[in-house]
Amino acid sequence: MDLETPWLGLRLAHPVVASASPLSRTLDGIRRLEDGGVSAIVLHSLFEEEILHDNEATLHLSSAGSESHPESLGYFPAVGREPTGPDRYLELVRRAREAVAVPIVASLNGVTETGWTDFAKLLEEAGANALELNLFHLPVAAGWRGRAVEDRCEHVVRAVAKSVSIPVNVKLSPYFSAIGEMAERLVAAGARGLALFNRFYQPDFDLEKLEVERSLELSKPWEMRLPLLWIAVLHGRIGASLAGTSGVESRDEVVKYLLAGADVVMTTSALLRNGPAHARALVDGLRDWLEARGCRSVDDVRGSMSQRKVANPEAFERGNYLHILQEYRSPYQL
């Protein structure tokens, strides 16, 4: 059974990829992911905002209360105050590349123009096989216009793609008015692949305390519906790799994404819930499914249920009422 999968110009042993998660925060976690059987590892995201925030907080807190009282002119030793850059992350990339054989994909979320491009270059220098751009950005400020959001994404992708020679994968949000157009623009700007979709921290309310709660729920299989739809729609239409992400729990979701047209299937929640070795179960499950249907490779089935190849392509375009229309009249009778 040939499970080999092309993705972003890389050759992966199979299509099950670990997406950005806390598991890839440490070298140990990265090793465990490889041992668990994934074919590539996307590291947790390097957030430029986090670095900036951490530096500013450190500066502020380490000097709070200082130079106020003659006995306590400061409350911290003069260590660790120097602003830091992405050094730790870069070191992780370097060591991960040395430690594991599967491709390492660095993930970046920038704030400033130089943050995006400079960090991207550093990640390439550190040895990342590919770069994933995490375009997480909530345009909550008044005055953001939809087109401006799109332009910003395109601009970032273009700038980064120009500054590095490793392939760039873009993990994008589902909240564009025209996903198809957006995907095309990003690919034109230099994206070698798209990952559908980024999940957002969506707050909840605590009704006792009347407070906003920040937590991230692990994804559930039903959440794959939206990315499944768009992968099925985009498959064969754009010249870039597609990755399905969100809602992968069992081999069924893996198969579904591949049938929709995904090149690779990314999972975090299942690995967090079941441990990294679950990746092997997913791959085995995929193999079994393919074998049971007499397929010899994943390429045989990839996209077989994309919008272009499915029997009822309008199912992707219309809502539930379509069922009623179809049942109302048999397609085989005049």
Partner: protein, 1181 residues
């Protein structure tokens, strides 16, 4: 003169000294004490950074539990051949004294570096004088003095070289603060210089004398009358040889550096008739005075003493010109009852030994506890010598109207060099003024031809502290070891300061003044006080104004006004060409924030660039425009002492108080913090009675007792001012009763803990709670009127208060209020609560530390009294002995109580059985019982006054002891876990009814956050720069091991009700009690507003399990242990990730940080498991 090619650096005396001490030693035994702590901190930091010493190794830096412990390590390491040092001051040196005798008696080469400081006698003082080193003068250590930052550097090396050559150990000292904290540009000694001073052979000889099993011997024997005496004399030749050895080292130093020091340094007219003799930084001022006087033709001089022990008579006499007829010896110490202070007596003895005609000799005291010592004072001394009858002994620098010792000083005598530039900056600790001034000094001193000096004066508050920065620079070396009197530039960085302080008093005529003001150039002059206006016009000052807050805000660096004001200084002072100066500021911003500073750098640059456009010179009118008098700081109806003394201190004029104004024994009235009304908060809480559920949480947690609750009859509402707020009480059974929650806006620090803890949110706008922060200025007039009315309402009678609930305690009057602790302090709410619960019969033994400083540092004290005049009686003995001090108080109370009870029994018939019997029988455990007893005692006193017998008089004198006293020992973890642990252990073991409250911040907060045994694994602290590598001590388990000790671990932010319960149980427990109170702290690196939230996380992660061990339960067959917090519901990381102390290690050494966190998680789990196991046992089974 600067030698070519030598490395220059701008640093303070502590760093100058430590830089040499670190390089020349192999082991540093350390312990924090102001003002020497920085030396130890630097040693720890350098070791953590892997900086090697002269021998290519990284010194081993060991923090000990006390200075006594450090001295023990010093002794042991020396005896086994390591080059070892320590750094200390004041009481710390006193704790080392037993070992100093040993080290000297064994002729062990060592150097102890001392930032010399006053001793605690009638009061503690952190400031500089020579009392500590003089207390060590008989130990056998050589005493070597440094008078400046350069000397602190050079003499550290001289001492090390001399001790190795002579075998006599050295105490190298320089003046605390004046030298230890003064910044100067100095020439650094290279490693080659140090090697040249210390031949390897001397080091090898030291090692050769070490204890060694390969060449065994014993040292430290016990001796009998036959040989002890001779043995003591056997070492004499080493002392006799020492002066020559030191002199030869000084000569070697001169050969390499060109700086020639001598054992006694004479400066002045070669044919002087009158001279002053002294030691330390004061001699720098004396040289300046002498230069000015010699230039006028006076025949005067100054002799600076460098080597005080051994005192070389011959070198002294050689150094004094033969023409001298009168000598005034200045001692910066006080030896009560002596015929003279030590240096004076040495000089007298030297002249006596010389024989012949003696000069006129007088001894005087000056400069105790950093009292200013100026050239004018030196002149007063020299003038005194010209008079036929010089006072002897004399004092200078104070007005002694009691013993008449003081000399009159002419304040008009000013000797500041004409070519120098002097600038003063008035600011707040929080506004970065000091940091900016230090930065300015470095910018200026960057020019090799410029000498610069910085000195910083702070007040004693930890919140809203005011600072004055003194900056001198010029083309000649600066020796002015005193505060600036005539400044060319005055920067007032806080508008309010110009009203409260004499900011312009030290401005020279024609000086440039920069005022940070919300008012523009057209308005600002009219906003100034009459006094300020007069001063500006009389001195023809050039007034400039800028709204730095606005400029900073617009540049995106809101609150950081220092960049703006520093730019203004360079723009208008003319000390550097404007463009060059701005570029240097930007350079320093780059250096401060680093290459990766990102947007912070950009924002600061923007602030620099926009400053000049906002800076304006103020056109001055010909005459003052205001007519009003100065506002008084304290009200006219304040007690006499407050008006005479406290008010003067508050105005910053304490130096003017004569001796007669001060108490003879350190006794001060309590209840004085209420007169300060510092008004330091920009935002204060405002109360919304409609939302409030009257739970009392806010009043409970308020660190400064600025939120008070009272119940009152609604009939009083008619008198209330318009803005006064109240609500019907939310409890049934109190008709016509109203509830008022009053915020004191002038005493509030704006910490917002109250808002964070308020559970009552508006369902309409959830960010709004029953307390919400409001701009102080907006509500000030109304709030002040409300406070005045509120204070006329009677406190809720204690008999009506439910002591068992947080809700109830809000009605108890806090007898600890308005302290100067940090905004949002985690300690003071506990202290306040104890004062509320037991204050009217409370005695506090306070260990030195934050709590003794915010509790008892002049000018005021937050400890106060209730409407009946009762309140906590408070005292601080030392850092190390608080538990024992408290035990003594308990013993006295019990003794007097027993005595009184015996007398009551003996006089039963005369007193009346109706009174005597219940007096004797009352258990006094509940508040009601205590109240009843108090009434009985009042009746007893009434009856006794009618009885003229001596027995009645005796009983009358101790009758008040019949009301049970509550003795509390309070202190931090530095005390309880480290320096006082032996005493804590012993007092707990004693079984006596003493209550110990440990305000556990897990570091030495007061001295700036050094690690203690309470510091958690993985946390970065001073003395643990590389992260603490061992677990914190579980003091609760230690105490539980005794069985009879009541032990509680509490965290107010996690469970206030449990805190209340524990404190009440502890007090009621008839034996010793230990309450460990988690206190969030600024040294944790948190936003203090969320301190209580962090407490909750500490508990929910199992890091700080809440528990009570009540031996009383054991007596009735129950398990004494109650675990009051449930199983952990958060991972430890969710507590540690929010504190800089844990995060810092992750920035420097992420792998170690991860490893230590994992280790901490395991031991956390183990601790929780252990407590749960213990709590789960059923004793009856």
């Amino acid at each position: 003169m600067t030698a070519i090619g030598r490395r220059l650096a701008t640093l303070d005396g502590n760093e100058a000294c430590a830089d040499v001490a670190y390089r020349m030693n192999e082991i540093c035994a350390i312990y924090p004490i102001t003002p020497s702590s920085t030396m130890a901190e630097l040693a720890d930091q350098w070791a953590a950074e892997g900086r090697p010493n002269l021998f290519g190794n990284v010194p081993d830096v060991i923090e000990m539990q006390s200075e006594a412990g450090a001295a023990g390590v010093l002794h042991g390491a020396l005896q086994t051949g390591a080059l070892t040092t320590t750094f200390t001051a004041s009481q710390g040196l006193l704790l080392m004294i037993p070992n100093l005798y040993k080290i000297a008696g064994e002729l062990t080469p060592a150097v102890i570096h001392v930032a010399a400081r006053a001793l605690a006698s009638h009061a503690l003082s952190i400031f500089g004088d020579h009392q500590d080193v003089m207390a060590a003068r008989s130990t056998g250590f050589a005493l070597l003095a440094s008078a400046s930052v350069q000397e602190a550097h050079d003499m550290a090396a001289v001492a090390q070289a001399s001790t190795l050559e002579s075998r006599v150990p050295f105490l190298h000292f320089f003046d605390g603060f004046r030298t230890s904290h003064e910044m100067q540009k100095i020439e650094l000694l290279s490693d080659e210089d140090l090697r040249a001073l210390v031949p390897d052979a001397h080091v090898l000889l030291h090692r050769g004398r070490a204890l060694d099993p390969d060449h065994p011997f014993v040292r430290g024997t016990a001796q009998n009358p036959d040989v002890y005496f001779q043995s003591r004399e056997a070492a004499n030749p080493f002392y006799a040889a020492l002066p020559a050895i030191v002199d030869s080292v000084l000569e070697r130093l001169a050969d390499r550096t060109g700086r020639r020091y001598r054992l006694f340094e004479y400066h002045g007219a070669p044919d002087a008739e009158r001279i002053v003799v002294g030691m330390g930084s004061g001699m720098e001022a004396a040289r300046e005075a002498v230069d000015a006087l010699v230039a006028r033709g006076e025949r005067v001089g100054v002799l600076g003493v460098r080597l005080f022990r051994p005192f070389s008579v011959s070198h002294l006499l050689e150094a004094i010109p033969p023409t001298v007829r009168a000598v005034a010896v200045l001692d910066r110490t006080k030896e009560a009852g002596a015929s003279g202070e030590p240096l004076y007596l040495e000089v007298v003895a030297a002249f006596a030994a010389r024989g012949g005609e003696l000069p006129r000799l007088a001894g005087g005291r000056y400069g105790l506890a950093s009292k200013e010592f100026t050239p004018a004072m030196v002149k007063a001394v020299l003038d005194g010598l010209a008079e036929p009858a010089m006072r002897n002994p004399f004092t200078v620098g104070i007005v002694d109207d009691v013993s008449g010792t003081s000399l009159t000083v002419d304040p008009g005598f000013v000797t500041e060099p004409a070519d120098g530039h002097r600038a003063l900056f008035f600011g707040l600790g929080s506004d970065g003024t000091v940091g900016a001034t230090k930065n300015t000094i470095k910018i200026l001193a960057d020019d090799p031809g410029i000498f610069a000096q910085g000195y910083f004066v702070y007040d004693s508050k930890k919140s809203g502290s005011q600072t004055v920065s003194h900056l001198r620079f010029g083309h000649s070396p600066i020796r002015s070891s005193y505060l600036i009197r005539e400044a060319h530039f005055v920067g007032c960085h806080q508008f309010a300061m110009i009203e409260r302080h004499d900011v312009l008093g030290s401005a020279a005529d024609g000086a440039t003044v920069l005022l940070n003001s919300p008012y523009g150039p057209d308005e600002v002059f009219d906003r100034l006080s009459r006094r300020a206006q007069e001063e500006i016009l009389a001195k023809k000052l050039r007034l400039h104004v800028i709204d730095a807050a606005r400029v900073a805000r617009e540049a995106g660096i809101a609150g950081r006004i220092n960049t703006v004001l520093q730019t203004c200084f360079f723009a208008i002072s003319g000390v550097l060409p404007r463009e060059a100066a701005l570029e240097k500021i930007k350079d320093s911003i780059r250096k401060t924030y680093g290459r990766k500073g990102g947007r912070v750098v950009e924002e600061n640059f923007a602030a620099v660039d926009t400053t000049l456009a906002n800076l304006r010179e103020v056109p001055l009118p010909p005459r003052p425009t205001r007519t009003d008098e100065r506002t008084r700081l304290v009200p006219d109806d304040a007690p006499d002492f407050v008006r005479r003394v406290t008010a003067t201190l508050l105005e910053g004029r304490g130096d003017e108080l004569p001796v007669s104004a001060l108490p003879v024994d350190g006794t001060f009235p309590s209840g004085t913090a209420r007169f300060e009304k510092r008004g330091i908060a920009a935002f204060v809480p405002a109360w919304d009675p409609d939302l409030c559920i009257q739970c009392g949480n806010c009043a409970f947690v308020c660190p400064h007792a600025v939120i008070r609750a009272k119940l009152f009859h609604e009939s009083r509402l008619g008198e209330a001012p318009a803005g006064f707020r109240s609500a019907p009480i939310e409890t049934r059974g109190f008709p016509e009763t109203r509830y008022a929650l009053q915020v004191y806006p002038d005493d509030c620090t704006g910490c917002a803990l109250c808002v964070e803890v308020c559970p009552a949110k508006s369902p309409r706008e959830t960010k709004r709670r029953a307390l919400h922060m409001t701009a102080r200025e907006e509500i000030l007039d109304s709030a002040r009127a409300s406070v005045s009315f509120f204070e006329t309402l009677s406190p809720t009678p204690r008999s009506r208060v439910d002591f068992s609930t947080v809700r109830g305690t809000q009605f108890l009057e806090p007898l600890f209020e308005f302290s100067g602790a940090c905004a949002g302090c985690g300690e003071t709410p506990y202290v306040k609560l104890v004062s509320q619960l037991f204050g009217d019969r409370l005695i506090v033994a306070n260990a030195t530390g934050c709590s003794s400083i915010y509790g008892g540092n002049l000018p005021t004290t937050p400890w106060t009294k209730d409407a009946e005049g009762r309140g906590p009686a408070w005292s601080n003995s030392l850092f190390e002995d608080a538990a024992e001090f408290g035990l003594g108080m308990r013993a006295a109370a019990e003794h007097h109580e027993r005595h009184a009870l015996a007398r009551v029994r003996a006089l039963r018939e005369r007193i009346g059985a109706d009174l005597a019997d219940p007096l004797v029988a009352s258990p006094q455990r509940s508040e009601a019982e205590i109240r009843d007893q108090r009434e009985r005692v009042a009746e007893l006193r009434r009856r006794l006054r009618e009885d003229a017998s001596p027995e009645a008089a005796q009983l009358l004198s101790i009758a008040h002891h019949l009301v049970r006293r509550s003795v509390w020992v309070m202190g931090g973890d530095g005390w309880a876990y480290d320096i006082g642990s032996g005493g804590v252990d012993h007092v707990l073991a004693s079984g006596r009814d003493v209550n110990l409250l440990v305000l556990d911040t897990e570091v030495y907060s007061n001295t700036g956050g050094q690690a203690s045994k309470a510091t958690p694994l993985g946390a970065v602290a001073k003395f643990a720069s590389g992260g603490k590598r061992v677990e914190r001590k579980d003091l609760a388990l230690h105490a539980i091991a005794y069985g009879h000790v009541y032990v509680a671990r509490v965290a107010m932010g996690a469970n206030p009700q449990q805190t209340l319960l524990a404190l009440r149980e502890a007090e009621a427990h008839p034996g010793p009690s230990l309450v460990l109170a988690y206190s969030h702290c600024i040294a944790h690196g948190i936003n203090m507003q969320y301190g209580l939230d962090q407490q909750q996380r500490a508990v929910r992660t199992g890091y700080w399990p809440l528990m009570r061990w009540n031996p009383g339960l054991f007596a009735i067959g129950e398990n004494p242990l109650s675990l009051d917090s449930g199983a952990p519901t958060l991972r430890l990381r969710e507590f540690t990730d929010r504190e800089l102390r844990f995060r810092l290690l992750a920035r420097t050494d992420p792998e170690t940080a991860e490893r230590l966190l994992a280790q901490a998680e395991k031991s956390n789990a183990l601790r929780v498991w252990l407590y749960r196991q213990m709590a789960a046992q059923h004793l009856k089974e």
